[in-house]
Symmetry: C2
Subunit: 141 residues, 2 copies
DNA sequence: TTGCGTGCAAAGGTTTTGCATGGCA
DNA sequence: TGCCATGCAAAACCTTTGCACGCAA
């Protein structure tokens, strides 16, 4: 609750700067390392994990784990509240892995329904609709 | 497509029997090992992974990966087709972890909308709505 | 007899942990 | 100066792979 970052270190500053620049996109720990390498600054793997994990707890970063052998994906979204979030939803194609952002009233209706009838507060930022996208569906016919 | 299981081995028979008995529930590779141990039969980890992975490809088993350090969850659902599946959806509480099954027309509407307007075939069996459930929402007030 | 299924062990990869050092306030 | 942040290396963990042996057909 009253957790606070104590020191504004160079690593943390750069990490935040990088995250801002890729807001809404999916990145891995290696992407962060590459960014630091390109900037000519060293950073330890553990440091990245420690920061990202803390931000995941705070809700400013989302974590997607697709499978246990490849690296997890992180997405910087900034601060958000479940009760007051934009009606933005994600569809993920199970074939090509494409992540589609969309705003649609049907999804928003579902969210309202779940809350009013089932008392369930759907977190639209963390919810992903899985399926087969347009292109992959076409190709398999 | 024309894949077929060649030998009906003791391990495969027992695995299928176990999966039937826990249909709709989430299990890990360790749960399978424990089952075999209790039955007094040895089974290698690799064998379990190999079978489950094959079933995931065939669509009779679903795989949920929550995080990279803990074991993946599997769920036996039997055969299913994306194009022709029951309108059953899952809500998962991010606090207590409870998984809620539900049939609702709003979700079904969303699925139809995604297909008609976006060409996206939503796989309702693999899609999970994340959020905060009734009870956990009450308690936090 | 044939060849797939199995089990063991090792490898491969990601993430976490421990500890000494460095740097911010 | 005090104490948190960092980085390195090792540990921990899950999952996959290679290979020889066993077993179903």
């Amino acid at each position: 609750m009253s957790e606070k970052t104590h020191y504004r270190t160079r690593q943390m500053t750069m990490l935040l700067s990088y995250l801002e620049s890729v807001r809404g996109h999916h990145i891995t720990v290696n992407d962060v390392k590459d960014y630091f390498k390109n900037q000519g600054v060293a950073i330890g793997t553990a440091t990245i994990y420690r920061h990202l994990e803390k931000m995941v707890e705070q809700g400013t970063v989302l974590k997607y784990v697709v499978d246990n052998t490849s690296s997890a994906c992180f997405e910087y979204v900034g601060s958000h509240e479940i009760a007051d979030q934009p009606s933005c939803f994600h569809c993920k194609c199970e074939k090509c892995g494409r992540l589609i952002h969309l705003h649609c009233t049907e999804a928003e209706n579902l969210r309202l329904h779940l809350f009013e009838k089932h008392g369930f507060k759907m977190d639209s930022i963390r919810t992903v609709f899985y399926g087969i996208c347009d292109e992959c569906g076409e190709n398999s016919r």
